[in-house]
Structure formats: structure tokens, C-alpha cells
């Protein structure tokens, strides 16, 4: 068993050396496509930060002053619940100050100045309101009504805040996903071609192996490993690129004025690490699929 494993690894390394130019091209293409896949994840996460307040069809947020009294809070709640024909009362959600602070950490992820000014004590709590109507004038009328309630600090409308961003997010998501898929297919094809070329170049060797009684899997495994390694190397390069990209972006965002909303677009390092693990898995999978198909299809050389 050990002899076979060591043979497979030796052959993989030897084949890698023989096809160094093609292997480098396959690695580079995988890296570029995986970098785009990773960037898609980061862009998505950045937009999610921006839109986190408005998840679940929330159309209006009623911000409540931090120093609101129990009576005022309960009056606001009753007023909201008294409109079951216009507001989805079941989905009415109250975020207390602690929950609002957690949410603010994402909204102001890259805006340290604003974040330093906020605390659980000073942040307004909020009611997330899901309107039943699609009539913007009716929602706007409601907002004006709530704005004047005692204890209310302000009312924000989804229509004013995020619709452009939401549309842009959908568009960017569609474009980046499509490009990632196309480039991934290119990477798989290039790995497939590299392995096919390696197999054709070694057709005499493969013929001799088959005639002396090597099993198909014994012949295939070094080639599949080669593709797998190309995919993983491509993923490692893309992880480096993604880390650099995110670092540059984060420091760039820090230069924007607080309150512009751009600060929400910062993605935390822990999330980037998670994306890197996904990229390594996708890279290995792409390499394995490309080389696996080639190693099965071109065994009869």
C-alpha cells in the first residue's frame, strides 16, 4: 500500500514538473476565477451589512429615544398594533437597545468614529414595521403620524434608504456570480486540458502500464492528484489575493466621512477566513472534477 501511495505522489510531482507551463496557466486561471468567486462573497456580505436593517420586508423603522419611559414605549407599540389593516402586526418586531447596538456594529463596521460614539445606553431602540400596503403615500402618511408620537426619535423609510442599493446589489450579485461561474468553467476546462495533454504525452507509458496489469485507478490517481493540486494551488493564490483586496478596501473605506453609509461595506476578517476555506474547497473540487473527467476519458490512449 505504502509503495502505491509513494508511487502516486512521485508521479504527480514528476508530471507537474514536465508540464510546468500548462500547470502554471491552469493555476493562474483557477486563481483568477476563485478570486472573483471570493469577491462575490465579500460584495454580497458588504451589501448585506448595508441592508441588514431592512431584512424581512421591513418597510419602515420607528426609532425610539434611549430615554423613553415604559408608558411611552407601550403607547408606541399599541399605536402600531392598532393598524392591522395597514401593518403586518405579526411581523412587528421590537429590537431593544442591546439588539440595536449589535446591529449597529454591522451597519457602521468601517466607521470607527460613529461606532465609538454609540453605546448600549445611548443607542435608540427600534420597531421594525412590515407594511401590508404597497401604496407609498399611505406608508409615508403613517410615518408622519408616528414621527409625532411621544418618545419617537425618528422614522426611516425603506423607500428612501435602500431601494437603489437593493437594486444595485441584485445587479452586482448577478453579474459577479455569472462571471465567477464562467471563469470557474474555464478553470475546470484548462485543468482538464492540462491533464489530457499529460496523458497523451505519456500514452506509451500508460499502454505499458495497462499491459503489465496496472488497474485503471492506479493509472488515474496521479493524474487526478495533479489536477487537485493545481486547483488547490490556484485557491491558495486566490486567498492571498482576496486577503490583500479586503485589506486595501478596509483601509480605503476608513478614509470616507462618517455617516455616508460606505462604512457599512467593510467585511470582518473572520468572514474573509470563512470565504477562504470555501475557496480552498471549491478549488480542490474544480481541480478534481477537471482532472477526474480527463483521467477517465483519455485512459484509452
Amino acid at each position: 500500500m505504502f509503495a502505491r501511495i509513494s508511487y502516486a505522489f512521485r508521479e504527480t510531482i514528476a508530471s507537474f514538473r514536465r508540464n510546468v507551463t500548462l500547470s502554471a496557466a491552469a493555476i493562474l486561471t483557477s486563481a483568477v476565477s476563485l478570486l472573483l468567486v471570493g469577491t462575490t462573497f465579500l460584495i454580497q456580505r458588504a451589501f448585506d451589512n448595508l441592508l441588514v436593517q431592512w431584512r424581512g420586508d421591513v418597510g419602515m423603522i420607528v426609532f425610539v429615544r434611549p430615554d423613553v419611559s415604559e408608558e411611552q414605549l407601550s403607547f408606541i407599540k399599541q399605536t402600531l398594533e392598532a393598524q392591522p389593516n395597514v401593518i403586518n402586526v405579526k411581523k412587528l418586531d421590537y429590537l431593544d437597545r442591546a439588539a440595536s447596538f449589535e446591529e449597529a456594529k454591522r451597519v457602521f463596521a468601517g466607521d470607527r468614529t460613529t461606532l465609538s460614539l454609540l453605546s448600549v445606553e445611548t443607542i435608540p431602540s427600534q420597531f421594525k414595521v412590515v407594511p401590508l400596503t404597497t401604496d407609498p403615500n399611505l406608508v409615508r402618511g403613517l410615518a408622519d403620524q408616528y414621527r409625532n408620537l411621544p418618545g419617537v426619535q425618528g422614522v426611516a423609510l425603506a423607500e428612501d434608504e435602500f431601494e437603489v442599493i437593493s437594486t444595485m446589489s441584485d445587479f452586482v450579485r448577478a453579474v459577479t456570480i455569472a462571471m465567477s461561474l464562467i471563469l470557474l468553467a474555464v478553470a475546470v476546462t484548462l485543468i482538464w486540458n492540462t491533464i489530457r495533454t499529460a496523458m497523451v504525452a505519456r500514452r506509451n507509458e500508460i499502454e505499458v502500464m495497462k499491459l503489465v496489469g496496472a488497474t485503471n485507478w492506479f493509472i488515474r490517481i496521479p493524474f487526478i492528484l495533479e489536477g487537485l493540486v493545481q486547483g488547490i494551488f490556484g485557491a491558495i493564490v486566490s486567498c492571498g489575493g482576496l486577503w490583500t483586496l479586503n485589506r486595501t478596501w478596509t483601509s480605503g473605506v476608513a478614509g470616507f466621512k462618517p455617516g455616508t453609509g460606505v462604512s457599512s461595506l467593510v467585511v470582518p476578517g473572520s468572514y474573509v477566513s470563512g470565504v477562504m476555506i470555501i475557496l480552498l474547497m471549491v478549488g480542490a473540487l474544480a481541480g478534481g472534477i477537471g482532472s477526474g473527467i480527463a483521467a477517465s476519458k483519455f485512459l484509452d490512449v
Binding site: 509503495a3 506509451n204 495497462k210 503489465v212
Partner: protein, 225 residues
């Protein structure tokens, strides 16, 4: 050891490479397959090691109907056979030792077995002092000896040789034939396709003659006609 029962092999729908071939090759026999180019000699060898499957008839090897052998079992059938080719099919980037060791390596033989068996077989074929040379540094006859060593290192029951003297001068061809004869005397069944009348006439072994895919002669201690 090998038995053909009414075997027909077609290439395409109208070209019959082998037609209704029937014969037995007992264990330990030396058989020449003779006939002009395109008569079906190589196809018969390829049917014996399951590189080809017949359209009709049955090929038996060591008691097994190899037409019905699952693809996954073919490597194990071939481990009991050695193959020698006219063009040697040596791996030019490997040394003599590595070429011979290769056939043991790919079937997972441990290193200590390889270190023991390869020098023995190189001694047998007279290349013990050239194990570190590359094929390009050897003569045609020496390359064919390496090819025979590679085919025999696993001590196969059957050795299939396709025109092994085809690229060699008569003197070197005789040396190769002596080697195949010596291997046959160890009990290995040898089936050799050739159109070299000198070696057939000199050896006087069983001859199966083919003509356009048909077995037209099967003669004990025959000659090339």
C-alpha cells in the same frame, strides 16, 4: 492454457481480421503465428490479452472465458502474461533497471521484491552490467532484451511476442529467439507472431498459419511456407 472456439473479430461491419478461428495452446508450448501482414496475427495476440473482444466465439485463457471478464478483472488477467513488441515500447526516460522494475511497481510489488527480482532477470537476459543505462544508449537487440526482461520479471504463465525480431538483424534475432526458447523451457507458454521465416524454420516448433483472418494451417514442428 489458451483456447479459441470459433472466434471472429471484425473491424467495422465488413472487415474480418479473424474468422472462425479455433485452436488450443497447451501449457508450456511454443507456438508461432505466421502469415503475411494483415493476416490477423497481431489481432489474435490482442484477443488473448483482452485488448480486443471478439464479435463471435469464445477465448479461454487459463480456464477462464475472458470475453466475459469484467473490465475490473482485466489487469489481473494481464499480470499472468508478458508482452514483447517489435518496437520494444521502452520508457526512454527510465534506465534499464527502472524499465524492468516498472512492471512490478505498477502492480504494487514491494521495493525489496523489486530489488531482488530485477537483477535476477537482467542476469538472465545478459544485461546485468547495463542496468543504469538508458534505452537510447543500447543497441536494438539490447533494447529488445530489456523488453523481454520486463515481460518476464513477473514470471508470467504466458508470454505474447509480436514480431520481436522484426527490427533486428539476423544474428541478433537468433539471440532473441534463444532467449525466448530459454524462457519457454522454464514452463512459460510462448505465443509469437512473426513473418520471419528464418526463425520459424530454425526453431521447428508448432506453426499456426493465417491468411486473411482464416487459420489455414496448424502444424506441429512446422516451417514457414
Amino acid at each position: 492454457m489458451i483456447r479459441f472456439e470459433n472466434v471472429t473479430k471484425m473491424y467495422g461491419s465488413d472487415v474480418a481480421a479473424v474468422r472462425e478461428a479455433s485452436f488450443d495452446v497447451p501449457k508450456g508450448e511454443f507456438v508461432f503465428l505466421v502469415g503475411p501482414s494483415g493476416s490477423g496475427k497481431s489481432t489474435l495476440l490482442r484477443l488473448m490479452n483482452r485488448q480486443e473482444r471478439p464479435e463471435r466465439g469464445i477465448v479461454w485463457v487459463a480456464g477462464a472465458n475472458i470475453n466475459e471478464l469484467a473490465d475490473s478483472r482485466i489487469p489481473y488477467l494481464r499480470r499472468g502474461m508478458g508482452n514483447v513488441f517489435q518496437d520494444y515500447k521502452l520508457l526512454m526516460n527510465k534506465t534499464v533497471f527502472e524499465n524492468v522494475a516498472f512492471s512490478l511497481q505498477v502492480i504494487g510489488r514491494p521495493k525489496h521484491v523489486i530489488r531482488q527480482q530485477v537483477p535476477q532477470v537482467l542476469e538472465l537476459v545478459g544485461l546485468a552490467d547495463k542496468e543504469d543505462r538508458f534505452p537510447s544508449q543500447l543497441s536494438g537487440g539490447e533494447q529488445q532484451r530489456v523488453s523481454i526482461a520486463r515481460a518476464f520479471v513477473n514470471r508470467p504463465l504466458i508470454l505474447l511476442a509480436d514480431e520481436p525480431t522484426g527490427n533486428l538483424d539476423p544474428g541478433t534475432g537468433e539471440e532473441i529467439m534463444s532467449l525466448l526458447d530459454a524462457i519457454n523451457r522454464t514452463g512459460t507458454t510462448v505465443v509469437m507472431a512473426t513473418h520471419d521465416h528464418r526463425v520459424v524454420n530454425a526453431m521447428r516448433r508448432r506453426v499456426i498459419q493465417l491468411d486473411r483472418g482464416l487459420v489455414v494451417r496448424d502444424q506441429e514442428r512446422g516451417v514457414y511456407e
